[in-house]
């Protein structure tokens, strides 16, 4: 189907089904139940799943295939957001021009940064991208935010004001929309004890992600993708085989930058605000983590990783000490208090500590990510079966 082999078609269909049914899948617990706090089926979070999914899918094209570890991809996300908000300010709240411009600007930006950083490889490349991202952050935060020339609106963040030009302003449409269909409109469906929310913004982002996932499958299976994997394995051989590695890595860098820009544009389309903190190294580190957590170089991994991280970020940071006490109230008090004391470190505001630990644990024990872990388990089971089968005739 669609020029994909059987296995990729399966993966692709799986992603489509999960994203389409997400409002159900993510909301397994009845609204009034105690478990409802683990539900993730609300628009804001689901939008983040797919938008950061796009970001991670793009990052994987660079890191997963070529092995070039960029620590600066958040810069492109931020640039995309700024471009989108500017389109809202200048044209109208329609998201199409905003998304187009965010991809183009992020593409140009990544071409420039990639051209400079790809003069080096390995650790030097990582350091350079990190430095560039921090520079972009500083530029957005202070350099381009001054009374004479205010492009980013500094600390406050860029947003749309009532007196902005908006050439094609449409009355009554004061939030981002797609030809009149507002991103923030949500249809609620109540089935017995369950509430399900179907949000326009989520489905628009989901469609974009599905398209982008398809594009990434095609890139993975193309001769270009093969060359990128060859870059990761042996650059010397590639050069002596008549291939110029630089344009290949640069193309991968720009493509992943454009993915990041698109994700940034979508973030701004869901909530028309762009701030510099989106460009900070923590955000770059997060996309790296998403990719390796899911499994760098696999198709599905980054999507899973993005979902996993965003889910836990949201759920864990909601769990404060009161919630913890409520959970353990049936335990003896000393046990309750000590459990709460331990978990307090990792939940609520301690979420970043969990993130850092997760980072280390994954790199140390499961460098292939969740996909690799699943494969290992599958093989272990198959191996045991095979052993059993081998034993039977002998007995």
């Amino acid at each position: 189907m669609l020029n994909l082999n059987q296995r990729d078609t399966g993966t692709f269909l799986f992603v489509i089904i999960i994203t389409v049914l997400a409002p159900f899948v993510m909301n397994p617990f009845p609204t009034e139940s105690a478990m409802a706090q683990f539900n993730a089926g609300y628009p804001d979070l689901m939008q983040r799943f797919v938008i950061f999914g796009i970001f991670a899918i793009g990052f994987n094209i660079l890191f997963g295939l070529t092995g070039y570890l960029s620590f600066g991809h958040a810069a492109f996300l931020g640039v995309g957001s700024y471009a989108a908000v500017w389109m809202f300010k200048l044209l109208s709240y329609n998201i199409i021009p905003a998304l187009v411009l965010s991809v183009i600007i992020a593409g140009i930006f990544s071409l420039f940064i990639g051209f400079l950083c790809l003069r080096r490889s390995g650790i030097y490349f990582s350091i350079l991208t990190l430095a560039f991202a921090q520079m972009s952050f500083a530029i957005a935060y202070s350099v381009l935010s001054n009374p004479k020339f205010n492009l980013t609106n500094g600390e406050t963040g860029l947003q749309v004001y009532a007196d902005d030009i908006q050439l094609f302003k449409v009355e009554n449409l004061t939030t981002p929309h797609l030809f009149g269909v507002k991103m923030n409109s949500t249809y609620e469906l109540t089935l017995g004890a369950w509430d399900f929310q179907f949000n326009v913004g989520y489905y628009v982002s989901a469609v974009v992600m599905i398209l982008m996932f398809y594009v990434s499958i095609r890139i993975f299976r193309s001769p270009f993708g093969l060359m990128l994997r060859a870059v990761k394995t042996n650059q010397t051989r590639l050069n002596y085989t008549g291939l110029n590695t630089r344009p290949y890595t640069l193309a991968a860098f720009v493509i992943s930058g454009m993915y990041a820009g698109l994700a940034g544009g979508l973030l701004a389309s869901m909530d028309p605000l762009a701030g510099a903190e989106r460009m900070q190294w923590t955000a770059s580190g997060e996309v790296v983590l998403m990719t390796i957590l899911g499994g760098a170089g696999t198709l599905l991994g980054p999507v899973l990783g993005a979902g996993f991280i965003k889910y836990f970020e949201n759920i864990l940071s909601k769990i404060n000490d009161n919630v913890l006490h409520a959970w353990f109230q049936y335990l003896p008090e000393w046990l309750e208090n000590s459990l709460v004391w331990v978990l307090h470190w990792f939940t609520g505001k301690g979420w970043h500590l969990t993130l850092g630990l997760l980072f280390m644990i994954i790199v140390i024990f499961l460098p292939g990510g969740l996909m690799d872990g699943a494969n290992r388990i599958r093989e272990a089971i198959r191996g045991r079966k095979a052993k059993k089968n081998a034993k039977t005739p002998a007995e």
Binding site: N3, L4, N5, R218, I219, R221, S222, P223, F224, G225, L226, M227, R229, A230, K232, T233, N234, T236, R237, L238, N239, Y240, T241, G242, L243, N244, P247, Y248, A251, I255
Partner: protein, 253 residues
């Protein structure tokens, strides 16, 4: 007609003169061996052919074009392939993918943003790569990951990768280094067969005298950075200068 011409090449590293006034001509369609004791400058010379090093003075021309200031991938696109002393292959990819990559390079040039059509639909490339694997007798290892193969197979694969580009000149850097006797012989057979069938010009850097005399149609002897003799194998065998320079040091080994 000579396909590769080296004229008055000098190269020094700091105070060390690695190559001094080297002159060399590789005739089209022949196997040309470059021999010499350790540190004679063989590898330096080879690196000057492929663009890894640039000679201080002198000229290197291939097929009438200068190779100076050209990058390795440009030189390869002109028709020069290289086999390394320790096989350089794409260890994480399958054997078949390894052979497909040079086929793409041959067809599409040094860069092509071919990011949409699946590799499985590139039937011309696949046929070519498959034929190559049949030719080198590796078709049964088609889907193996390259890193899991024996050293001999890796060398054979590297050879297949180079040959699949139908190069005009094949450079081999000690192709039998560290091989068992049986592997060495089968490599010699392979090279002879290739030469007979495809008439590819080859330049071989080699230590092993047995390999050199059973393969080469012409031999250049390099010692202390200069060519001290260039002749047919029989003449080289009896050349007193060569004996002195080469065997003299060889005896010390």
């Amino acid at each position: 007609m000579s396909i590769l011409e080296v004229q008055n090449v000098n190269k020094s590293f700091g105070g060390l003169k690695a190559l001094q006034n080297v002159n060399l001509k590789v005739e089209e369609g022949t196997i040309h061996a470059i021999i010499g004791p350790n540190g004679a400058g063989k590898s330096t010379l080879l690196n000057c052919f492929v663009g890894k090093l640039v000679p201080d003075t002198g000229s290197v021309t291939f097929d009438g074009q200068s190779l100076l200031q050209k990058k390795p991938h440009e030189i390869n696109q002109m028709g020069v392939s290289r086999v390394f002393q320790t096989p350089e292959i794409f260890t994480d990819l399958t054997v078949f993918e390894n052979v497909m990559i040079p086929c793409f390079a041959k067809r599409d040039g040094s860069f092509e943003l071919n990011a949409w059509k699946p590799v499985t639909r590139e039937s011309d490339i696949r046929e070519r790569a498959e034929q190559m694997l049949i030719d080198v007798n590796m078709i049964d290892k088609r889907d193996m990951i390259a890193s899991s193969m024996s050293r001999g197979d890796k060398r054979r694969l590297e050879m297949a990768m180079c040959l699949s580009q139908s190069p005009k000149l094949l450079l081999l850097d000690e192709p039998t280094a560290g091989m068992a006797r049986a592997d060495t012989e089968s490599t010699i057979e392979l090279l002879k067969e290739i030469q007979a069938r495809l008439k590819i010009t080859m330049a071989i850097i080699e230590h092993d005298m047995g390999v050199v005399f059973s393969l080469a149609q012409k031999i250049s002897v390099l010692a202390q950075g200069t060519v001290i003799a260039e002749d047919l194998p029989d003449a080289i065998r009896s050349d007193p200068r060569v004996k002195e320079a080469y065997l003299g040091t060889a005896a010390e080994d």
